[in-house]
Subunit: 562 residues, 2 copies
């Protein structure tokens, strides 16, 4: 199945990651004081692609795009909310997991990117808890199977109704010959810390585990009799709200629709431009620096809301990255450029840093953190070109550090009056934006010599020319005007000539030196194995389990253990 | 290509992991006082399979089997050796890496298992340094490409001749569209701590890096002019020897050939029996407990040498596991059983623990550690059946903890006078045998509640019946004689019915909860990505880079970035 064989149900040719509650087809978001309820009520007919029905609260990427949107809106639009209840509107079913017909019909590339996005969404739920005190309670009123239970695993607290039949399960292996790959295996072992032999039993048992054993084995946090269910849910919500440190102002800011103009080879956002050179397999993302100085008070920032430059850039960039990931598979490399005033960018970073006790400033830096993690996990070669007139300072400099390779031009260009390229660091480069491995990008960069992080820190706020940036280890190569064009061109051509898969594997290894965390294990150990399985005929072949599921025919397996 | 299409060059049908220096075709091991030299001189005509020549010190599994053997012999037979020099006998070439024609012609299963073994061998080189003070200096007299440089990366110190042309390189991606998967990427980022953008440049550059840049980028430790090369090598050997804590007695023990009798469906070792039920896809490995009490002095242990029961079992078990891995791909599950006297096993563990300052006792526990890690990494379902008459105590109990699931029979069997199954723990369960994640198997097991490790420790030396073992969390299920047979049979049948690939991925996740180390990252992040790439047509398809290498035709790539 090729991508072009598959038709989006809305008749369009691109998947759009922008939505808002008025357009949700699968979720209802209700806010009542400090408790929000996010109700899953998947519209069977609302599949993203033609050819399957989303029965029993099963989901596809379209359902998850709405979920991700809802979580972001809870953070920005509802700062008073301390607890979110994840519930189902379907009787006796919480969620049946990823839709199997959707998976069976999807291309390998779609499967991989679907899983990546759903993983990011679940990590986002955990980040909301950890970073913003927005606690999630998952209320399981029936079966939570596969991806349904994996969604529950992202919550802080899992409640299961004790009705003699409701169960949690990860039946992917016995039913479909694939893994619970949306973080399920890793959260079972590393978050819930289920004993490995219990986990083995659980993950090989179609019907899952219910009742007391589910609690004893740490699969759920509590079992509640049906008669007391709603009261207990309310009580837990009150308890979690009482422990939440969240205390934003009562009024949030509206995440208004992005300004976005698409043409054949470009997308123009408010603060970001994307140009696509499809023959060269390149996308260039240019970030525009702020037009004005930052506000002087937090109230002004709140009043600016979605127009506040750092938030505008982050939202534009997030959409641009997601769009390229899922709609532009032939793009080999993403080139980051910037244009603007270095000092202004630093001023915004200084404002965010000084406002770090304000809920909105905190949400914006956490949002940037997530966007930058999304960049790290993007399976395209990432290149930063630091050229005259650019403004890679502080937060924007993270894009240089996230890149697989960076080039910085020495001095001005012949016949061009743009000022020579300078870079600068801000305090935000030293803790605000950890990677999934738990380290800052600079700490990951200087694993061999952590003292170099301190050397860099001493330069905070100073404009660094190309040679200084190279000496400080901030860019890969500083090159003068004479060498620049050829060297960059040859590098980008070379990159486009390599095996796309080989590069994906290479970059997935080189970008994440040093420690692993539960989050990074999900994208390394779990996802890489799942991607392997997604290539194996036992899962995806014509006689494989994914294809034969629901046909009444048993799958035929190659019995070799590799 | 199927395995049966490929003929072993020696005319046999099974790959044999047993060898000794008198039979080496590719290496020469010379010992001179406290310095050994291991010279790579690969016999072009000595390939394991027909159809390729091992030019330029390129290697296949057969070459690596000899290397692994040599390292083990240095540990047991030459305890006085403090430094081993890894050198090449070929002019201007250290090692060209894994043989490309071999890889291009190998089945997926062979490629994966080849890489697993070569990774274990390199980890073994590092373990010899860390655990036994046997330091490795890699002496690069020319090009060290791909797997050749990955071998160097396992050393404590890398010396490169400065002759204007000698270089180290990882050209896998640009040449072959695969990864440097024998630990290369992980050791570059996590051991050598090469900056990620430098690593990106290095790993995408066919010709590699030489001269000063190789030192500046931390790819090698020193650059030595050709005129001073041999003197400097000698000097470094003396220096490393001076810092090595190794101080074994002057006389080692001989690793004499294993006693091993093979029949169609069984292998009979000295202390281990393997039976193969191929229709059921089961291998049963039964460990026999010691026939006698342990020696009373270290000298008696040395005199026993390879006959000393713990060493005998470890060597037998290691060979049995390797044999099943590479010669019995259709085996779905390995069932561990044991037979013998629980108290005797404990007595041997107590002896090893009491002798832990003796070089041989230390080498034996470290060897067990490596064998158990090999078990952890074996892509077959691992099952322990703890039955009447068994002796899963201490070291042998690690096999129960390494298993994906374990069953223990309650009481005696009807009509059978074998004593009821008991298990026991020894001090060796609490530190001697860390897994690749750095934790003991019990600590990995009780991640949720580390206090349970201490609860278990309080039971050291005590015989625990089935129900106590279940309560203590040492086995998954205790079952009585009435339920046992059906439950175990159904479980094993079920296991054989699941997708082999799905199980491989599932077990690779569930077995390694908790932290990751450089070693575990090699088998998770790196290997799982490599296995994915080993399935992709860009690498292994008819027009892929592995198949087209050396044909003069450029590979044709699917340009999708997944």
């Amino acid at each position: 199945m090729t991508d072009t064989d598959r038709k989006l149900a809305n008749g369009k040719t691109r998947i759009d990651f922008q939505t808002d509650p008025s357009r949700y087809r699968h979720w209802k978001l209700a806010v009542d004081g400090d408790v929000a309820t996010l109700i899953m009520d998947v519209d069977e007919k609302g599949g993203l692609y033609e050819g399957y029905e989303l029965k029993l609260n099963s989901y596809d990427l379209g359902v998850d795009i709405e979920l991700a949107d809802a979580i972001e809106r809870l953070r920005f639009e509802h700062p008073q909310v301390k607890v979110v209840l994840l519930r189902s509107a379907k009787p006796r079913v919480f969620c049946a997991g990823a839709n199997i017909r959707m998976l069976a019909g999807a291309t390998h590339a779609h499967k991989v990117n679907f899983c990546k996005f759903t993983n990011e969404t679940r990590n986002g739920i955990e980040d909301a808890s950890e970073s913003s005190g927005l606690k999630t309670i998952c209320v399981i009123n029936g079966t939570a199977a596969g991806g349904g239970y994996e969604l529950a695993l992202a919550a802080d607290h899992i409640m299961l109704v004790d009705d003699g039949s409701s169960a949690v399960s990860l039946p992917e292996l016995p039913l479909l010959a694939v893994l619970p790959g949306t973080g399920g295996l890793t959260r079972v072992t590393d978050k819930r810390k289920v004993r490995r032999d219990h986990a083995d039993y659980f993950c090989t048992t179609e019907e899952g585990v219910k009742g007391k054993r589910a609690v004893e084995w740490r699969l759920v946090d509590e079992l509640v009799p049906g008669s007391k269910f709603d009261d207990t849910v309310k009580q837990r919500a009150r308890e979690f709200a009482a422990t939440s440190p969240r205390g934003g102002g009562p009024k949030g800011i509206a995440l208004t629709p992005l300004k976005r103009e698409r043409s054949a080879d470009a997308v123009e956002y408010s603060a970001v431009s994307v140009t696509l050179q499809r023959p060269e397999r390149l996308a260039t993302i240019t970030i525009r620096g702020p037009e004005n100085a930052p506000p002087t008070t937090a109230e002004e920032m709140v009043a600016l809301g979605p127009e506040f430059w750092p938030l505008r850039v982050a939202r534009d960039l997030d959409d641009a990255i997601l769009d390229i990931r899922i709609n532009e598979f032939d793009i080999a490399a993403i080139v980051f450029k910037s244009a603007g005033d270095l000092g202004q960018v630093l001023a915004y970073d200084a404002f965010l840093d000084a406002s770090k006790n304000h809920w909105l400033a905190r949400e914006i830096t956490h949002y940037w953190k997530r966007v930058l993690k999304r960049v790290d996990l993007t399976s395209r070669s990432l290149v930063a070109l630091v050229e005259p007139g650019s403004c890679f300072a502080g937060t924007l400099a993270e894009l240089v550090f996230a890149s697989d390779r960076s080039y910085m031009l020495i001095g001005q260009r012949d016949g061009d009056n743009k000022p020579a390229a300078m870079m600068a660091l801000s305090e935000l480069n030293f803790g605000a934006y950890p990677m999934s491995n738990g380290l800052t990008r600079l700490a990951s960069r200087f694993l061999a010599n952590p003292a170099l992080v301190e050397v860099a820190r001493a330069e905070v706020g100073r404009a660094l020319d190309a040679e200084t940036a190279e000496d400080t280890g901030l860019v890969t190569f500083a090159r003068d005007d004479i060498d620049w064009e050829d060297e960059v061109r040859v590098f980008l051509e070379e990159r486009a000539s390599f095996s796309p898969d080989g590069l994906t594997g290479l970059e997935a290894n080189l970008r994440f030196g040093g420690p692993e965390t539960m989050e990074s294990k999900i994208f390394a150990r779990l996802t890489a194995w799942q991607n392997w399985i997604f290539q194996r005929s036992n899962a995806v072949g014509e006689d494989g389990a994914l294809k034969r599921y629901g046909t009444g025919q048993r799958p035929v397996f190659d019995t070799k253990r590799v």
